[in-house]
């Protein structure tokens, strides 16, 4: 394999891996903040217990998300230095803003939240977790703005002298229609992930406690968690559908090749059908794909809102690209990967949907349930949004190949700024070096994934603590001004 293929594999592996943990961090931080808000507002101890329980899971997950995120920022320069030279003037800005505006807030206030339970007044401590939640979401915005610029370059021109992209309008970069659709889509996906996680673990525990005979515990502690998780799932699910539809319509305009490939639509067609099942050869030949099940007119409808609208097919698009950007390059992304990752992304939503329906039925009108099927569905549903996110990223990144910066000869994008992936790879980095780093990351990531899972599992099956005392300074009985009593009191939290 060449350095290019290896670098692509490494980027794929490290990015998909990083994004296992990120959606849970983004989605769970506001949910933990909500639980703590309920506790501060009502003084109801169960919300403190739930805050601590899901807070621990959040922290185990947060650590590995941060650790694998450092790689992401360094990797552009290490493996993709020519890409970095080409886009740095534009692409570096949102990354630097992400660090300054979001990472600092996130890491500093998380430290305050973890260690500040007995040091900060209740409301200030609560504000810390909200700061974390806002900052994780803000960081998602900046990184998606950077990614969206690669999908749809705006606010930049090509400097023909240096051959590099140059930013001319930061507002255009940050209000790129692509990021305005991708951001809510990613955030709702993260909320679906966290909602499914909270509802799934809560429902499994509810069934378990009812079966143990402790109906009271199931009703007072686990059911509220299930309700909170399910409301999140429902809201996020609707949002995900709306933003997904919006994004798909945008993609048909901005990246018609990606969407034609996702549908394996070979010839330009009026009223194209939506393919549900297709089989093809492995030669990436569009004509070798046979569609077995289709919904007539559906793709045209999803793309434009009209059932009989015309759409360009892969062959015509290939011809158009050859005319514009030169012959001798296959401008068609990997059809099988694009087609299936798109369908798997959507299909995985069934997991959360099933859990939501099951919860709504089994817990209707204040009920708690001991139905083993609810517990089984709960466990099965938890991984599905994680997989949906992974397939979504594989789709959106593989679907734009062979481009790393996609040309946008459409009214909303700038013309002239584009880069083939093959031209972005570092020229001074040998295949041996990429193999070394890829082996090291894959090995380390594999080990960490096992530990992460064991820890998450272990803390999930431990369940919510039987009681939590109020650790806040307001609840303290000793004299806070007496240095002797303060000095020797054990910290409420320590590593």
């Amino acid at each position: 394999m060449e350095a290019l293929d290896l670098a692509r594999w490494q980027f794929g592996v490290t990015t998909v891996y990083h994004f296992i943990f990120v959606p849970l961090t983004i989605g769970l931080s506001p949910l933990v903040a909500l639980m703590q808000t309920f506790w501060v507002r009502t003084g109801d101890e169960k919300w403190l217990r739930l805050t601590k329980f899901f807070g621990k899971l959040f922290l185990i997950n947060f650590a590995i998300g941060v650790a694998t995120g450092i790689v992401q920022e360094f990797q552009f320069g290490m493996n993709w230095s020519e890409y970095s030279r080409f886009v740095g003037d534009v692409f570096g800005a949102p990354l630097a803003m992400e660090a300054l505006a979001a990472f600092f807030v996130e890491s500093t206030f998380l430290g305050l939240w973890i260690f500040g339970w007995d040091k900060l007044p209740k409301k200030i401590h609560l504000a810390c977790i909200w700061a974390v939640a806002l900052a994780t979401n803000l960081s998602a915005f900046f990184i998606l703005a950077a990614n969206s610029w690669m999908q749809h370059p705006v606010g930049a021109i090509l400097n023909t002298e240096t051959g590099r992209a140059e930013m001319v309008d930061i507002v255009a970069v940050l209000t790129n229609p692509t990021v305005l659709a991708a951001f809510p889509h990613t955030i709702t996906a993260a909320l679906l992930t966290a909602g499914t996680f909270v509802a799934g673990i809560g429902a499994w525990w509810m069934v378990r406690t009812v079966r143990r005979g402790d109906v009271d515990l199931a009703r007072t502690v686990y059911r509220p968690a299930v309700v909170l998780g399910t409301i999140t799932m429902l809201v996020a699910g609707v949002g995900l559908g709306v933003t997904g539809d919006w994004q798909a319509k945008l993609m048909f305009v901005q990246q018609p090749m990606k969407m034609a490939a996702a549908e394996a639509l070979c010839e330009s067609t009026d009223g194209a059908a939506f393919s549900i099942l297709a089989i093809g050869d492995l030669a990436n030949d569009c004509d070798g794909v046979s569609h077995l099940i289709e919904i007539p007119g559906m793709t045209a409808f999803l793309a434009t809102g009209e059932f009989d609208a015309p759409l360009d097919g892969v062959h015509d698009l290939q011809a158009q690209y050859e005319e514009k950007y030169g012959a001798g390059v296959d401008y068609t992304p990997n059809l099988a990967v694009t087609y299936w990752s798109f369908r798997l992304m959507i299909g995985m939503a069934a997991g959360s949907a099933l859990l939501a329906v099951a919860v709504l039925w089994f817990t209707r009108r204040g009920r708690v349930s001991d139905n083993p099927w609810l517990a089984r569905i709960a466990l099965a549903a938890i991984p599905t949004p994680f997989l949906a996110s992974a397939f979504g990223w594989i789709f959106t990144e593989m679907g734009r190949q062979p481009w790393v910066v996609v040309p946008n000869p459409n009214p909303s994008g700038v013309d002239g700024v584009w880069l083939l992936t093959a031209r972005g790879v570092s020229t001074v980095v040998s295949p041996a070096m990429v193999i070394t780093s890829m082996a090291a990351f894959t090995l380390l990531y594999g080990v960490l994934a096992v530990i992460w899972f064991k820890l998450m599992h272990r803390f999930a099956v431990e369940g919510v603590a039987d009681s939590e005392h109020d650790p806040s300074p307001e609840a303290r009985t000793d004299d806070p001004d007496d240095p002797d009593s303060a000095a020797d009191r054990p910290l409420s939290f320590a590593y």
Binding site: A67, G77, G92, L95, V168
Partner: protein, 376 residues
């Protein structure tokens, strides 16, 4: 002032923030097997002195990286692709270090903790040495071709000047960590950290002075003698203050030494950002930089946000200003991988309707079971 100069200075400031702040938490990690060799409580005292702040300190690195990408893309591209293997090692070290901090206390088991401690120690030593190697190489100059690509290879990075630079950062962080621990812990750890700092401060003085004079004579410009002088003065104060156990002064002195080292490094570079053996191929603040527009935008962002960052990070240090002592360390909140024994999990004791009492009974039995080394 030219915007490119502003950004050269800003990136120097970001590296200063990173090396001064993460410097002491690297030092704490490096000293874990030394000052924490006696028992787990001592190690927990050490780790908890930096517990609330290490993550915020590390963001200075991410910001320096992001700012370099935004302001000097050519520098970012050449440096990161050229120094590939050292950066890979730094990344691997930082990864295991981050997860070890957060995961160490989650499992109450000696072997688990031993592994986490190893990850913290290795994860602190490796970057502490390699940042010095990397910066010394930049000061010394590297082999760049006409396209500003690094073509020197990995072995060329391991020259005597760079290796001595690695020893300098390792010693500086070690000392910085020891004086930080003397300042932020109480009791036995404080005592031994102070004694250790007094022992290694003269070594740090000698090695740092040797490297600084070498750098100054071989690679720098006249005015950075000021930085060398400042470093020397700060190191002399450090030696004296550690001997007298003036903990506050010792910490100020080690921090000023690191600041002076960064001034020397960046002062020797300017107006280059990455000098090449053939000066015609050097990356400079001009030929490596982004456009004026991008630099202007980023200047506004930095001017608006950096004071805020300093404000809330400063507040964090104020909130956690108290010394950490062994008496304050609570019992481990970790679980064991072995599950609670079924009888202890509360099945037998919990009956419908007996609410609180049943829960409490289950809880006590459960914690007994987890405290036993082999529960089942």
């Amino acid at each position: 002032m030219e915007l490119t100069t502003v950004w050269f200075l800003l990136i120097a400031v970001l590296w200063t923030g990173y090396l001064v702040l993460e410097g002491f938490d690297f030092g704490v990690g490096m000293l874990l097997p030394v000052l924490g060799r006696r028992n787990n409580t001592d190690r927990r005292v050490m780790i908890n002195t930096i517990g609330p702040v290490w993550d915020g300190n590390e963001v200075w690195l991410l910001t320096a990286g992001g700012a370099t990408f935004a302001a000097f893309p050519e520098w970012y591209a050449t440096l990161f692709s050229g120094f590939y293997l050292p950066l890979l090692l730094i990344l691997l070290a930082l990864i295991i270090r981050v997860v070890a901090f957060e995961w160490r206390g989650k499992i109450d088991d000696d072997r688990w903790r031993a592994r986490a401690d190893l990850a913290l120690t290795v994860g602190s030593w490796v970057p502490a040495v390699l940042w010095g190697v990397a910066f010394a190489n930049i000061v010394r100059g590297v082999e760049l071709d006409a396209d500003h690509q690094y073509v020197g290879g990995f072995v060329a990075l391991l020259n005597p000047f760079a290796l001595l630079g690695g020893a300098v950062t390792a010693l500086l962080f070690l000392t910085h960590g020891a004086v930080f621990l003397a300042l932020k812990s109480a009791g036995d750890v404080r005592e031994r950290a102070g004694a250790l700092a007094a022992h290694i401060a003269p070594v740090t003085l000698a090695v740092t002075a040797a490297w600084a004079v070498w750098a100054q004579l071989a690679y720098s410009v006249a005015w950075t003698w000021g930085a060398v002088g400042l470093a020397a003065a700060a190191l002399l104060v450090l030696v004296r203050a550690t001997r007298d156990r003036r903990e506050g002064w010792a910490f100020v002195a080690s921090a000023v030494t690191i600041v002076a080292a960064v001034v020397l490094i960046f002062g020797s570079l300017f107006p280059d950002v990455m000098p090449a053996f053939d000066p015609a191929h050097s990356l400079t603040v001009t030929n490596a930089s982004s456009t004026d527009y991008t630099l202007t935008v980023m200047t506004w962002v930095a001017v608006a946000l950096t004071p805020l960052v300093l404000l809330y990070q400063g507040w964090t240090y104020w909130v956690f200003r108290k010394r950490v002592s062994a008496e304050q360390i609570p019992a481990s909140v970790g679980l064991t991988f072995a599950r609670r024994a079924p009888a202890a999990a509360g099945v037998g004791t919990r009956r419908p309707g007996d609410g609180g009492a049943g829960i409490a009974a289950g809880s006590d039995a459960g914690s007994d079971a987890t405290d036993r080394p082999t529960a089942s």
